[in-house]
């Protein structure tokens, strides 16, 4: 076995192990050299990214990868072996790519952005831990393991939200976030216990199989409700979104970027539970989970944009924009489910017209939202770095001194409001098209939200970057090169995705959508020699 094959075999474990080990090596390296520590963090995330892309090429060409921690035999003396299993399919790897891109950009951006802060050894440790937790949630195939990674992500991100402890609001946002996360995670654990008590299994594929055999019992319904409520809360869907603008708005900008990834990891958990674990029963006509997701999505979009209009704080405004964007994903995926549930019983998710299109659009929007909102957060961070100000009422005329930042903001603004030729347009068009088939009102609300987003961000562009030069910002200079580089990476990906959406959809998003709606691929290891 040559070295590449060996690395590939162990890639799922190494993707988690490398940032975890790196996290606890960071304080040691920090003793030797501050600069060395920053570069070490960048290298750690870089190596993890290599493993993620290595896995991506394998998964997309050869199907799901399974990695077993513990016994390789599924049963010993007729009893099921309890072990942790990582299962990486096209959807997991799609999310992991988003997560690792965000993490890499965040760590590069932090190099200059956090330079003047103290306690950076803890900052980098927590940042790498958050990356570990996020990737773990995306790769794991075990319910309890999912809960553990959910908690790792929550603890690390709450501590990072409150990183600027000299600001009262940041500490309050951190407290709010940890309280909400913990309640959510405890409900997830309770639901896992219900499922374990019924099926004597913690593995997602195993539970899915048993669930398919037993039908849809009352206890399964309770567990499903708890899981959906908790993960939607962690995923920032209205009306459980109130922690999100606070946490996004008060965290350092690099952490806001990573929080987008953590939120989407929770949404991934929601989709995984609904489509894979409950995959065999969820598309039955009698179950209206699809409509619930559609309604949550609509409320989320409307609340997000309406609240964004009245914000006067730059980062809080983007936080509400992020809430609105999350609504699109729930709307699209819910639409896919509803179309199938309304159709006659012979039609499945793969064959129903427009159902696949809706789900593809929703998943494509996950990556686009991460990039667009992420870029806007980085711009807000750059403005804060240069002026130490986030209030929209006090900023103005910055385009004169910060021309690259302004260009990046314009790219982000056009992408987030879904204008061609940027990536937001590609996914939103898919969403408008497919939701129209279910009910025209849905697509009207979606388009209206996009228009409002455009209006809101044009207002921000005007009040922050345009207008007369303010005397107190005369000495403002452009931000350091590493921050510009981080923004340029995201802006570059946005433009490439916007110009060649078909390439991304065919190679990355459609395999993920297929993996989502068709859980037999995920369950195949049960029969396939493990």
């Amino acid at each position: 076995m040559n070295i590449v094959d060996m690395l590939l075999t162990h890639a799922p474990a190494l993707t988690i192990a490398i940032p975890l080990l790196g996290a606890f090596l960071t304080p040691l390296i920090s003793r030797v050299s501050e600069k060395g520590r920053n570069i070490f963090a960048i290298i750690t995330v870089g190596i993890t990214a290599l493993f993620v892309f290595l896995m991506a090429s394998e998964v997309l060409s050869n199907g799901p990868m399974t990695y077993v921690f513990g016994s390789t035999a599924a049963t010993v003396q007729q009893s099921t072996v309890i072990r942790i299993l990582f299962e990486v399919d096209a959807l997991s790897i799609f999310m992991a790519i988003i997560g690792i891109i965000l993490s890499f950009v965040a760590v590069v951006y932090s190099y200059a952005f956090m330079e003047k802060n103290t306690g950076l050894d803890k900052y980098y440790t927590l940042l790498l831990l958050m990356t570990t937790g996020m990737l773990g949630m995306m790769l794991t195939g075990d319910m309890f393991n999912f809960f553990v990674f959910l908690e790792i992500t929550s603890i690390a991100s709450a501590a990072l939200v409150a990183f600027w402890t000299n600001k009262a609001k940041a500490v309050e946002a951190g407290f709010k976030y940890i309280v909400i996360s913990t309640i959510g995670a405890l409900f997830v654990l309770f639901a896992i216990a219900l499922l374990y008590g019924q099926y004597d299994a913690l593995n997602m594929a195993k539970i899915a199989q048993s669930l398919g055999i037993s039908g849809f019992t009352f206890i399964d319904k309770i567990a499903l409700v708890l899981l959906i409520a908790a993960l939607a809360m962690k995923g920032g869907l209205a009306p459980m979104h109130m922690w999100l603008p606070d946490a996004y708005g008060r965290a350092p900008a690099s952490i806001s970027l990573l929080l987008v990834g953590a939120t989407q990891a929770s949404l991934y958990g929601l989709f995984r539970i609904v489509f894979t674990v409950y995959g065999d029963v969820i598309s039955l006509p009698s179950i209206s989970i699809g409509w619930i997701l559609v309604l949550l999505g609509l409320i989320t979009m409307l609340i997000g944009v309406i609240m964004a209009i009245i914000q006067t704080d730059f980062k809080r405004l983007i936080g509400y924009g992020a809430v609105a964007e999350l609504g699109y994903m729930a709307l699209a995926v819910g639409t896919g489910l509803t179309i199938v549930a309304n159709a006659d019983p012979n039609i499945t998710l793969e064959t129903a017209p427009f159902a696949m299109k809706a789900i593809t659009g929703g998943l494509f929007h996950v990556i686009n939202d991460a990039l667009d909102i992420g870029l806007l957060f980085l711009v807000a961070g750059a403005v804060y770095y240069a002026t130490k100000e986030t209030s929209l009422n006090k900023l103005g005329g910055l385009a004169r001194n910060m021309k690259y930042t302004t260009i990046f903001f314009i790219i982000g603004l056009l992408a987030v409001s879904g204008l061609p030729p940027f990536n937001g347009f590609a996914s939103k068009l898919l969403i408008y098209e497919s939701t129209y088939q279910l009910n025209p009102i849905l697509s009207i609300v979606a388009i209206l939200s996009s228009i409002l987003l455009l209006a809101i961000f044009v207002k921000v562009l005007h009040s922050v970057f345009l207008g007369p030069a303010l005397p107190k910002y005369e000495t403002v200079r452009e931000v350091p090169k590493s921050m510009l580089l981080a923004m340029a990476v995201i802006a570059g990906i946005i433009i490439v995705f916007g110009l060649f959406p078909q390439v991304i959809v065919t190679n990355l998003v459609e395999p993920a959508a297929n993996a989502l709606v068709n859980n037999s691929g995920y369950l195949q290891w049960l029969t396939g020699g493990f």
Binding site: V148, I155, I178, I183, A193
Partner: protein, 115 residues
């Protein structure tokens, strides 16, 4: 009937925890509420693994009572307790910081202007 008492305790603990979170305005009491909620979930896990008249799942070579309770929920509970300690420590740290900023732990005193 007697076998259901642990489940009633679980329901009681979870309801007390949620009540505390929803209606108490003191941050420390909210933290206590989360801890009670967590105890409820942990008790539920432990109860799931119990079998009538069983012993702890450790091989001692003593064959008198071969019925053992399930070890997996106990491992899960242990993990959950460890996570709970970390969360509790973080929450209390944040409460200390909030107290330093506002001189109060009452929720209505929080907020206000930044910095």
């Amino acid at each position: 009937m007697i076998a259901n008492i642990p489940y009633l305790a679980v329901a009681g603990l979870i309801i007390i925890g949620l009540y505390t979170l929803l209606f108490k305005k003191n941050l420390i009491k909210m933290v206590i509420g989360i801890t009670i909620l967590e105890s409820g979930v942990n008790l539920f896990l432990i109860t799931l693994g119990y079998r009538m008249g069983s012993v702890a799942p450790i091989f001692t070579g003593n064959a008198d009572n071969p019925v053992m309770s399930y070890p997996v929920p106990q491992a899960l509970t242990l993990t959950s307790i460890v996570i709970g300690v970390a969360v509790l420590a973080l929450m209390l740290t944040l409460v200390i910081h909030i107290y330093r900023h506002h001189g109060s732990l009452h929720v209505s005193k929080l907020g206000g202007d930044d910095q």
